[in-house]
Symmetry: C2
Subunit: 360 residues, 2 copies
């Protein structure tokens, strides 16, 4: 009996309270609110006995907040076709955690690990097969950089520019959401290829940023441009060769009036359209231009190209170490900021890559 | 003086009256009418003295009537970006003529020749450099077939299927304007690749034709289908892998709700949109599906791929001689039918490839 009490007590020592975000109801359109995404506290045991073989207990450190997430709780497969979170299910996300206990010999306590499917929680017990990589702390790369340069936005930017868009030296390149997580890196990759790069962003401050920090040749604040056609004429007197589309809608339509022969339009995402059901989305009326200009428009997702992640990471690692590429990361403090952090992507109130630091 | 009279008289013997179609005014939108395209009669000398070196005098036999022509007299570069005919200029077109007199040793009287820039006229004197090929009359291929299988629609179909769409055996393929000049050949090329091919056409008679004559696995009359989504669900329970788009508009939008992962959409043309200025064209609201399904949509023009014409002609020639591919040609009699022949493409009143025989 005494031993049982002792065991219970020891077991109790391993129990942690963990805050976590879960899906309370689907949000088919509009900006998601606290009616859809809610925070709750659960009790979780990290004791040796409660962790199955080939599993690890992880304390979460950082989360990567990316626009694609919006497509995972619309309750439809509309547009992005990502698997939907189930009601009451914890949201899962790309992030970094520290191993607290391991039942897999490949990982030990203290290891820093990356996963694309961490729960948005303070702690978790998960299959070690969900770990994408172990972080080499001697690399000299900061942890948030693993979620920017070397994470979702970095890989998306690399695929958009290097694989799908493939601009040539001297090409005229336009990037929308240019100061966002993907845009800031994509612009720099295009510059490294010798392109002329213009960015579209949502504020004068961001225009300054992309030019002064990220080396864009120019940029404009679309909120101040009632006539997108005029601004594109001004910035692209010789037309657009590659447009990395992160926003869709009116910008995409306007671009199609300025494309050059054989232009390429990698479709990374369409953030201006995510909060609408498809019949409410802005129709693009001038796709016929794609015939006359022989344009290629192509959507891409990261998971399809995971076999190229090594090539990407090697190239990017070189750029970082040579100081050839910069990033700007907005770190929001505390797991409680998840909903606001997500919505900052849609209100264009973020600058750079948005990351949540779980414990301030 | 007597000799001069004689010369004038001899010269006069070579003068022909030639009817020709010219552009009287631009037609930015709507169906072109006799206000825009007019017939006139001119006098033309085919005398040896009036033909410059490296030129030929040609009597026109057959013209190829193709939808792209519509884009050459809108008065804008809107959408197709083809060079515009000038006011009062004779319309030029793909066709077949017989050499009546030659000042180029490569051609002799009686030769049958193809050109992409014959005037829509009964006779012409033109630079021999405008001749694309001399027809081998021993080939066993009929003259109209050179404008169908082996002409503009055949090459467009081949590029759409073999080069840009590239469906695999077993792929689910949809072709719009399926009984038209391009569609009928494209469907058969896709069948030769082992695909399952469905066609969209504008009448029950055409549905019967594509199934019975051209070997389509199925087809539907879009005029009888108020719910395109439902008809695509019915014909494509496993989704669409390749859609050869000849029409644009609502059909393209509906297709994007049924595409499979990595679908390809070669854009050959968008005939439903040609008679509208771009701001009046139907907006496509669901391009976001291209991200989630990683779709590639790509416009193409024939002239860009002329370096592949030899490959095309060789392959097609083989199919024709082996009886593996059929064509249906609607021959309209007399140069006077030009305007009606062109408009038959937009009213969907034609079946198969439309050709004008200059002299009935």
């Amino acid at each position: 009996m005494g031993e049982e009490v002792k065991n219970t007590s020891e077991e109790e020592m391993w129990v942690v309270e963990s805050k976590e975000w879960y899906l309370a109801s689907y949000a088919p359109h509009g900006v998601p609110t606290s009616d859809h995404l809610k925070l709750r506290t659960v009790r979780l045991s990290l004791s040796p006995d409660s962790i199955p073989d080939a599993h690890v207990a992880v304390e979460m450190l950082l989360f990567s907040i990316d626009p694609y997430l919006r497509g995972r709780f619309t309750g439809t497969l509309d547009g992005l076709y990502f698997p939907q979170f189930q009601l009451n299910q914890v949201i899962t996300i790309f992030g970094i955690g520290r191993v607290r206990r391991s039942k897999d010999s490949k990982y030990k306590e203290g290891d820093l690990v990356l996963s694309a499917s961490f729960p948005v929680a303070e702690y978790c017990v998960m299959s070690s097969s969900e770990i994408v990589a172990k972080i080499d702390t001697a690399s000299g790369i900061s942890l948030p950089d693993y979620l920017s340069f070397l994470g979702v936005p970095g890989f998306a930017a690399w695929l958009g520019i290097e694989v799908v868009g493939d601009p040539k030296p001297g090409s005229n390149v336009l990037i929308s959401a240019a100061s966002g997580g993907v845009g800031m890196i994509a612009g720099q990759l295009a510059k490294l290829r010798g392109c002329r790069v213009i960015g579209s962003t949502g504020s004068d401050e961001k225009v300054r940023l992309i030019k002064e920090e990220f080396g864009y040749d120019g940029g404009f604040n679309y909120n101040k441009e009632p006539d997108l056609d005029a601004v594109l004429s001004k910035f692209f007197p010789d037309g657009i060769d590659v447009y990395l589309d992160n926003v869709g809608g009116k910008m995409l339509e306007s671009v199609l009036n300025h494309v050059n022969k054989f232009a390429r339009i990698p479709l990374c995402g369409m953030i201006s359209q995510y909060n609408k059901v498809w019949t409410e989305r802005e129709g693009i009326r001038n796709l016929l231009n794609m015939v006359g200009k022989e344009v290629r428009m192509e959507g891409f997702l990261l998971k399809t190209h995971f076999n190229r992640f090594g090539d990407f990471a090697k190239e990017m690692d070189g750029y970082i170490k040579q100081g050839k590429i910069k990033t700007k990361i907005q770190i929001n403090n505390g797991i409680g900021t998840f909903l606001d952090s997500l919505n900052s992507l849609f209100s264009s109130s973020n600058i750079g890559k948005v990351v949540i630091q779980v414990k301030p």
